[in-house]
């Protein structure tokens, strides 16, 4: 099998057995990037020199018989809202177009310590605001399954890159579905961990109480491998969970445990959802049937407040964003307007010229929601609804071990199809947003293809800090299906 088609697990195995060098791996993926980046547009920065240098170091360590870490030699692509001292971190925004951070994100430190090699930084919707990656201020990313279609967003670059086998795994971030939606659209697996499981230190904030970093890859095992490295407590993020409250497990150990007796919740309210593609409903039904055959037990659960999730999200996330993005003012870092009239104009013109429309829209929404006289009616109300959504899940997880749901109401839509209608675009996240509001983990895995050969995703939601069970359920499903092994035509090396 070609190097670019290998899973991370197999690739690491070959490097470990010295059947393959880290340099070979890096060269193979750089070649794939070279060949396909023009059509796909998944990447903002490619780091060939940096990657080769790192690869040679790791090969040297391995040759010396030293421990080069659990991910020694694994090429990885990370979303360009994760800070790197060695490469620009643009957030796909003109306002940070030349911004080079003075430090590395926690996950970057962890990956490098583990021997992984960051070979590129991926495109996204500007500041992770969007569901299609069309809001990137830098480039449009295409879906490898159909280049007329979007890859989903906001981690569209991270998902498209893995689907196009530019790297075996990638990191994305998920605030309202930004890992799970593009994973579904691009036919790969993607995990949003529990809020607090992975340190946000070095993730450029969009909605701080919702943002979470997670891996994307071909299958659940590759995701578990990366989770073992990036998760765990970090004193620099006070919202990251202390070991004493939830010790970090080895995510690989539970994968092969059979599902017998696992209680899978089916959400009552999702059964009657209008506007959901019947092909997706059918694929989810098939999946639940398969789970039953594997010994799981289906139970109906209710999430009565889930209908308010989108509205709640667009108040909480935008309020936080309006504050988080206040620092891009042309004074301290990033883009500054060339000829300001006075210091107020440094602010207004730098921001007017630097931010794209969607970012401005969300900053205005959030500013409005936090304004005196509106705070109680909007932000405070949203926090109350958020609490109710959280309680819905707490109740549901008394009856079920995991919850099975669609990822999105449709498969990948066409580029430009929804850009003029932000509200329709917002509804793409209707099934993913609740998990962020509640803080629970969720994974998206490939569960079939539509008539026009576009991937369909299946979402498994888990209880707080119980990523292990949804990874296990995902991996077991993948033992009985091969949707996750499909690679879009044209991306397989001949």
């Amino acid at each position: 099998m070609q190097i670019t088609q290998l899973t991370a697990f197999d690739l690491l195995d070959q490097i470990k057995k010295r059947q393959l060098t880290a340099r070979d791996a890096v060269e193979a993926f750089l070649k794939q990037i070279d060949k396909h980046e023009k059509t796909i547009g998944a990447l903002i920065t490619v780091l060939p020199e940096y990657a080769r240098e790192r690869a040679d170091q790791i090969d040297q360590m391995l040759a010396d018989g030293r421990d080069a870490g659990p991910l020694a030699g694994l090429p990885i692509i990370i979303k360009d809202n994760l800070c790197t001292q060695f490469a620009k971190t643009t957030c796909a925004s003109k306002i940070l177009i030349d911004y080079q951070p003075p430090y590395n994100a926690h996950v970057v430190e962890q990956l490098e310590k583990a021997g992984a090699i960051i070979i590129a930084k991926a495109n996204l919707d500007e500041f992770a605001m969007g569901s299609s990656t069309e809001n990137s201020g830098i480039k449009t990313t295409r879906n490898p399954w159909s280049t007329d279609c979007v890859p989903g967003g906001s981690s569209g670059g991270s998902a498209a890159a893995v689907a196009a086998r530019m790297a075996p795994v990638s990191l994305g971030t998920d605030t309202g579905g930004s890992i799970r939606l593009p994973a579904a659209f691009c036919g790969i697996s993607g995990l949003k961990p529990t809020y607090g499981r992975v340190s946000r230190y070095g993730l450029v904030a969009y909605g701080s109480s919702l943002d979470q970093i997670g891996p994307l890859g071909a299958d659940a095992r590759d995701i578990a491998l990366v989770m073992n490295v990036i998760s765990g407590h970090d004193a620099r993020d006070t919202t990251s969970v202390p070991e004493s409250i939830s010790p970090k497990p080895d995510y690989l150990t539970k994968l092969d445990t059979p599902l017998k007796g696992l209680r899978i919740g089916i959400v009552k309210e999702y059964q009657s959802s209008d506007g959901i593609d019947p092909q997706i409903v059918a694929a989810i039904d098939q999946a639940t049937k398969l789970y039953e055959q594997m010994g799981a037990q289906l139970v109906e659960v209710s999430l009565p407040h889930t209908q308010y999730a989108v509205a709640c999200y667009y108040l909480v996330a935008t309020a936080e964003a309006s504050s988080n993005l206040a620092r891009y003012d042309g004074v301290h870092f990033g883009y500054r307007t060339p000829n300001p009239e006075d210091y107020i104009d440094v602010y207004s013109s730098s921001r007017a010229e630097g931010f794209g429309d969607e970012v401005k829209r969300r900053i205005m929404l959030g500013t409005y929601a936090l304004s005196a006289g509106y705070y109680d009616a909007y932000y405070l109300k949203a926090l109350k609804v958020r609490m109710m959504i959280r309680q819905d899940f707490e109740k549901a997880f008394e009856q079920a071990d995991i919850i099975c749901a669609p990822v999105a109401p449709t498969t990948a839509f066409r580029v430009g199809e929804k850009t003029s209608d932000p509200l329709t675009m917002y509804l793409s996240d209707i099934f993913t947003i609740s998990a962020n509001l509640a803080g629970i983990p969720g994974i998206s895995i490939p569960a079939g293809f539509s008539r026009d050969s576009l991937p369909i995703g299946l979402q498994l939601l888990g209880n707080y800090f119980d990523e292990s069970t949804i990874l296990q359920a995902a991996w077991q499903y993948q033992q009985h299906t091969d949707f996750h092994r499909q690679i879009p035509a044209g991306f397989i090396e001949q």
Binding site: L82, C83, V204, A326, V331, F333
Partner: protein, 490 residues
């Protein structure tokens, strides 16, 4: 103008920088006077992706202060973001505490002209300080120094219980003494470690009717004197304004004013119709603070004796005047030094005398506190003991004190070495006295004759002995000897 009187209403908002090692939300040194932008890191520079981590020591310092001001300490608090755009604020929001301050409802007692008065404290909370803009040279741009960014800042808000400029100043002094005693701030006002903002207005009664003048807030006063002067100025200005325009709180706006030290006036900065919208909301990057009872108990136990109690004790136990006790206690280190010297066996009366006379004088001359003179408690005690044991007199003590400022030796050693020890040895003094008596027959004569000249002659002979012994004669011994001699020759 027949029947007019008025009442002054003053409330204070005071910002105190806490003397923690590091900043409030990052590990950068919390230090004044370094090279611009040298004590900074990605967190306090507000670099994208960074997150704050609370400095527990700063929180503890604020709790200590709140306890000393009899405040209720909250068991659950949170952090809020206060949004406004200014170039010295890199995140364009300040992390502060809005609706759940770490403490509220306290009080502190002040004494003005012998009268005690309780001033209520509305709230005490913590927030991060902003950076500084430098407008140096005519270069067409300003520079930003972020060293101060993230310094822990404690905000203390009083109820409007102060009714004279003097009370405001006394309150400020009391607070400065308190935070120094607690060891939570050096409260050096020149360095901006304590900044005062009074809110002032008047309730005027004229011909039986009441009128309230619009509230003026004077920003950022950098000294206690400025506070008193600004309040006094505002009273006169508001009175004159009202007499001229009749504008009241109902018809006018709250104003923000600046203090001009040169002209001794306040200057209008802005008048606002309504409060500025800071869009406060809970900071999602910081977990709420849950305060354990054990921790609070431990802090309460560690509180030192507070200035009010210590001052009272210094008055009753050591017989200091109120003024001297206040001066001594104002600096905790000085008061500690005093008590330390005392515990080393220094006689109380002598030590008190030394502190209020030459030690205070030297400190004043150098613009430092007595504790900062560099003379240790053992050396101060030793000096006082020399006087107490009649080995030197107070004149020699004052001279020795001056030497102690530059010489590290023990005062007893210096006295010995420089032959300053008092001569109490009767036989050697007698010899000197005899010589003087022989040489001054006229004075001896006068000293023997009761009358106006007797006292003067006594003094003259004593002075002669002192001159001969270079001030080292024990006056008591000389006196006894002289009495004896005069009686003998009679």
């Amino acid at each position: 103008m027949s029947d007019l009187n008025y009442k002054v209403i003053i409330g204070l908002e005071i910002h105190v920088q806490l003397a923690t090692q590091s900043k409030l939300f990052c590990a950068c040194p919390n230090r004044f006077g370094d090279e611009p932008n040298s004590n900074v890191c990605p967190v306090c520079m507000g670099s994208p992706g960074t997150l704050p981590v609370m400095n527990k020591k700063a929180y503890e310092f604020a709790v200590r202060t709140a306890m000393a001001m009899n405040c209720e300490i909250a068991r659950y608090t949170k952090w809020d973001r206060k949004s406004y755009y200014y170039p010295d604020l890199p995140k364009n929001y300040q992390i502060s505490q809005y609706d759940l301050p770490l403490s509220q409802n306290g009080n502190i007692e002040i004494t003005v002209a012998g009268e005690q008065k309780k001033i209520r404290i509305r709230r005490i909370h913590l927030e991060e300080d902003a950076g500084k803009l430098l407008h140096e040279g005519n270069v067409g741009f300003s520079q930003v120094d972020l060293n101060r960014t993230g310094t822990p800042l404690m905000e203390i808000v009083t109820e409007p219980d102060l009714s004279t400029p003097e009370e405001a100043r006394v309150f400020g002094t009391e607070l400065r003494t308190l935070v120094r005693t607690l060891g939570v701030s050096e409260a050096n006002m020149q360095q901006g470690q304590m900044r005062l903002e009074p809110n002032i207005n008047l309730v005027i009664t004229k011909d039986g009717k009441q009128y309230k003048t619009p509230i003026a807030e004077v920003k950022n006063l950098g000294s206690l004197r400025a506070l008193e002067r600004a309040c006094a100025y505002e009273i006169q200005r508001q009175l004159a304004d009202w007499e001229k325009t009749g504008v009241t709180m109902e018809t006018g706006f709250k104003s923000t004013r600046g203090w001009d030290e040169q002209t001794g006036t306040t200057v209008l900065q802005r008048e606002k119709e309504e409060a500025e919208d800071y869009r406060y909301f809970p900071d999602p990057d910081l977990v709420p603070v849950v305060v354990e009872k054990d921790w609070l108990d431990a802090i309460r136990k560690s509180l030192p004796e507070l200035p009010i109690a210590r001052r009272a004790r210094f008055q009753t136990q050591f017989c200091f005047s109120e003024k001297d006790a206040t001066t001594l206690v104002e600096d905790r280190a000085t008061a500690d030094l005093f008590e330390q010297a005392l515990s080393l066996g220094a006689p109380v009366k002598v030590l008190c005398n030394h502190f209020i006379s030459f030690w205070a004088m030297h400190a004043n001359q150098r613009g430092v506190s007595i504790a900062e003179l560099g003379v240790s408690a053992p050396r101060m005690a030793s000096l006082a003991k020399l006087v107490g044991d009649n080995k030197i007199n107070n004149t020699t003590a004052a001279a020795l004190a001056e030497k102690l400022l530059t010489c590290p030796d023990d005062p007893a050693d210096i006295a010995q070495r420089e032959n300053l020890m008092q001569v109490s040895d009767a036989s050697s003094l007698e010899k000197i006295l005899d010589e003087i008596l022989i040489a001054n027959a006229k004075a001896v004569e006068d000293a023997r004759t009761p009358g106006k000249k007797q006292q003067k002659a006594f003094g003259f002979i004593l002075g002669q002995v002192m001159q001969k012994t270079r001030g080292q004669a024990n006056p008591q011994v000389v006196n006894q000897l002289l009495q004896k001699k005069l009686a003998e020759k009679n």
